[in-house]
Structure formats: C-alpha cells, structure tokens
C-alpha cells in the first residue's frame, strides 16, 4: 500500500532534481543526492511530520548531500571544488522565486535526458523511473525482477552514457524536439507494457509499473497538453488498463476481449480515456498512439463484444498501416477485417503477411491463423497453429491461454 507521503515524494522527485541540477550542473551526482534526500524523507516524514514546504526541504537536503559528496570527492582528489562550495547550503533552503515557474520545464528536460537515444532502452527505462518517477533503485529492481546491484549499475551506466555523449540539462533544439519527444513517449509505453506483463503474472509485491507509466504519461500530457501523441498515449494506457480486472483468468491465462466480463472494466478510466482521445482527434493529424487509443476506445465502448464497431476499427488500422509499414499492425488489421467481413477475408490477408520476413516465426502469426481458422469452423486445422503459437510465445499468460484453448478443443 502506498502512503500519501510516498505519492508526494514521487511527485516532487523530478522538480527537486531539476532544481538541484540547474544549481549544480552535475546531473549524475545530483540524481544520487536527490535519491538520498528522498530516502531521508521517507524515513523522517512519517515520524516528524511532513515539512511545511516539502519541496524546499528536499532541495535543501539534496543540496547538502551533494555538497558533502563533492567535498569528500574533492578531499579524496586533494583539490578544491570551489564553485560549488561557494554556495552555502543555507541559501538553498528556500528556492529563489524565479525557480517556481520553470518546474514543468525541468520535468520535461529530465524526461528528454533520461529517454535520450544515446541510452539503451532498458537503461532509459530504469533511469526514467528513478529520476523522473522518484522510485528507489530497489523498487525499480524488484519491478523488473533483477538484483538491486544490477539495477544500480544499469542506472549508473545510463548516467555515464549521458555524461559521455555530452547531453546537457537543456531542452533539445527545436529541430530535434519531435524526435526526442517520440523517444520519451516510447519509453513510457515500454514501462506500461512491462507492467502489463507483471500484473498478469505472479509477484504481487512488485511496483505497479502500469500505474507508474500512467502517472508519468499524465505528467507528460500535462506538460504538453496540445501534443496529440501525449494525449493519445495517456488515453491508450487508460483504455487498456481499464480492462485489467477482466483480462486474466484463474490460471493466470489471458482472457481474450470477446470473453471478458465487461462489468469488471473500470468505467472512470474508460470515460477519461475516451474524452482524451476524442479531444485530441479534433486537434488535427493523429499519430500512432492516438489511433491505437481510438481503437481501444471502440472496444471499451461496446457493451457486448458483438456490439464492437469493427468497420470503424478496420478504418483506423488502415490509417495506421499508411503511417508505418509494420507487420504487427497488418496482422491486427487482418483480425479486424475478419471480424468485420468474415474469417475468409482475414485469412486471405494473412497470405501476404506470411511472406514478410520480419514476422516469420512469430507466435502471433500462428495464433491469429489458428483463431481465424477456428472462427471458420475448421477446428482441426486450427489446432496445429495453436500448438505452434504456444510453443513460440515468451509470455506465460499467453501460453497458458493457448494451452487451455488446445486442451478444451481436444476434450470436446
């Protein structure tokens, strides 16, 4: 159970880090100092009460930790770190008035830094969760089921990459901003996906990564409210996560959309997601997150699986296919066509996808073929494809779904 204090700390983390980095410049050291300040607060606040200005308290403590670290580093190297020590820690206690308005910008700048393309995606994910999400190393480690030492190393590696590639604590130049923003959204999307894997498996003790991803996507959307991809990503997450309670069965297997108990869906999340997607759709050109959100909205709005507006979903997949040549989208399009116009049409589309080397041997191609054959009434023909899919997937809930499906057909 998360306490209010924990929520507050995670909210404040990027603001505090932004303030400390702007003051002292050294991102890697500042990030460590902010972690220490957050740990100190997590220990002290529940006992001594939350200070009147928690943000200023954290900046003050982080600045002191940073100064201490620099001082001992300086002593170790037998040299003076003059510039930093010139600022007495007392002065950092209350942020100057000019800091407040740039809070949002700081979080945005941090997101750009942590998701920089110079980092590997696992590094970017880990650093984003810690530096922007305010999670501790041990929380990030347990979320990904890796040892804490390994995660600490991954984070410190990420910071080294930032340093060595010369990424400054500054907004990317306007010409690169779109691409950088795409990288930020992609990292948040990957975090959400990881959460999706965890929540349908075991390990209930793990940090709720989907929830963290939604929180970060909400922050991203708040920073750039007119950016339709940020709205789209937040909407997509909300509309997907809304089905969480309904999407896994008693054996941890996936429950497919058409078999889910829709009364378990989170209506508030759906309403928010639909509103976000609808608003963004009227703002101009839709990107891929927004289109995916629109598809998720059409599923979520159908009271029964049979009410799903498949024709509209086909149209949205056609738009996605025009935007990117991705065999996974083509595969989803084939499913939608099968639902709208009959399985034979869908199976015909698979013939072309079969020849795409990028998806050859992927379990989902077999799973979709099995599914469409089954819908055509050819259960015997479907079974070998279900088996092939069950053998190839790297997801346990997916495999359990496929194996249960095979077992049910065999015992019929």
């Amino acid at each position: 159970m998360k306490t209010t204090g924990e929520h507050l700390l995670r909210e404040l983390a990027p603001q505090v880090l932004g303030a400390v980095v702007r003051r002292y410049g050294d991102f890697a050291a500042a990030e460590d100092a902010v972690q220490e300040a957050l740990t100190a607060a997590a220990f002290q606040w529940p006992r001594a009460g939350v200070p009147e200005n928690p943000r200023a308290w954290l900046i003050h403590v982080a600045a002191r930790k940073l100064t201490d670290a620099i001082r001992s580093e300086a002593a170790r190297r037998r040299r003076e770190a003059k510039i930093v020590l010139e600022t007495p820690p007392e002065e950092t206690m209350v942020p100057p008035p000019d800091e407040a308005p740039v809070e949002g910008d700081d979080t945005l700048t941090l997101l750009f830094m942590c998701c920089h393309p110079a980092l590997s995606r696992p590094s970017a994910i880990a650093l984003t969760l810690r530096a922007v999400g305010g999670l501790t190393t041990s929380e990030v480690a347990s979320a990904f089921l890796v040892p804490e030492a390994t995660m600490a190393q991954r984070i410190s590696r990420a910071k080294q990459s930032i340093k060595s590639s010369g990424v400054a604590f500054a907004m990317p130049p306007p010409g690169e901003r779109n691409e950088s923003w795409g990288a930020v959204l992609h990292v948040l999307y990957l975090i959400f996906n990881e959460g999706y894997a965890a929540s349908s498996g075991k390990a209930h003790q793990r940090v709720d990564l989907s929830g963290e991803a939604i929180r970060l996507a909400r922050a991203a959307h708040g920073l750039l409210p007119d950016n339709s991809e940020a709205s789209g990503l937040l909407a997509l997450m909300l509309l997907t996560d809304a089905r969480r309670a309904a999407r896994s069965g008693p054996n941890g297997e996936i429950v497919p959309l058409d078999e889910q108990d829709r009364s378990l869906w989170d209506k508030d999340a759906i309403a928010e997601g639909v509103r976000l997607a609808t608003d963004a759709m009227t703002r101009g050109a839709a990107g891929s997150y927004l289109l995916q959100a629109a598809i998720a909205a059409l599923h979520d709005e159908a009271a029964r699986a049979d009410d799903t507006d498949w024709a509209q979903i086909v149209a949205l997949y056609c738009m996605l296919m025009r935007m990117s040549d991705n065999p996974m989208i083509a595969l989803n399009h084939a499913v939608a066509v099968a639902m709208a116009e009959g399985p034979a049409k869908g199976l015909a589309l698979l013939e072309k996808i079969d020849r795409d080397p990028r998806i050859q041997g992927h379990y989902r191609l077999d799973a979709v073929r099995a599914h469409l054959l089954e819908r055509s009434g050819k259960v015997a023909a479907a079974l070998p494809y279900y088996e092939a899919a069950a053998e190839k997937t790297a997801s346990i809930p997916e495999r359990n779904y496929l194996l249960l499906k095979i077992a049910r057909h065999r015992s019929e």
Binding site: S120, L145, P147, T150, R157, Y196, I254, S395
Partner: protein, 132 residues
C-alpha cells in the same frame, strides 16, 4: 528480455578434463569467467550466474507420488554432455544475449586456446502478452 545461457560440456572430451590442465591454464579460465561476470554486472545485465558441481555428484530424483521417490546416483552414462553452469541475463535484445554467449564460449582451455564451449540460449518467459 531475460535469457538463460546454459553452458554444456561434452563427456569424455580431453579438453574439458580440467584436472589435466596446467595451473596457469586453469587460472586463466577462472579469471576469464570472473571478468565476464564482472562485465555483465557492470553493464547492469547480470541477473544471476552459477557454476555447478561435477555430474559425478549428481542425483536424479523422481516421484510419482505414492511410493518413496526414486533416486539415481550420477554420473549418468547415457548423457553425452552435461550442464556445467548458467547465466541469467536481462538484455535489450536476443542478439545481445547471443553476443554474450559467444563471448562465454571463447573461455580459454589448454594452451590458452578458446574452448568453443557449447552455450544454449533460451528466453525466460517474462515477455508481456499481446492481447488477442
């Protein structure tokens, strides 16, 4: 993505009889493995790694529930090769896992030559599902 890298050694191949190696050859081998593990740890990729005791000490245990479990002492003559150790790594791509395996495979043996150890790479089932 997590992968398990399983290191297999063939039975009866002279190069793998570590008790016939010279001390410096053995030391170089141990150092190679230590360095590899340290590199993986520093890269933030190491989830776990262990070496296993020789198959002579192995037991195979089976039970069908009712009777006492059946315990067979090793070494098992029918096995042509056996597992000598494993790594679990958390990496960005399958290609990276293969690269780590390739590196591990070059661990030095007699004369400092790469052993070309057979490494089986298997994905750990922890991927997110695609909804159907």
């Amino acid at each position: 993505m997590k992968f398990m890298l399983m290191m297999h050694a063939p039975r009866g191949n002279g190069d793998y009889q570590t008790n016939t190696w010279k001390p410096e050859e053995f030391r170089a081998h141990i150092q190679f493995m230590k360095d590899l593990n340290e590199d993986l740890r520093e890269a933030g990729e190491l989830v776990g790694a262990e070496g296993l005791a020789p198959p002579g000490q192995a037991r195979i245990v089976r039970s069908y529930g009712a009777d006492r479990p059946e315990v067979t002492d090793g070494p098992f003559a029918e096995y042509k090769e056996f597992l000598v150790g494993y790594w679990i790594v958390d990496v960005e791509s399958a290609e990276r896992a293969y690269a780590i395996a390739a590196k591990a495979s070059t661990a030095p043996g007699p004369g400092g030559k790469a052993l070309g150890i057979k490494i089986e790479v298997r994905q750990v089932m922890s991927a997110p599902p695609d909804s159907l």
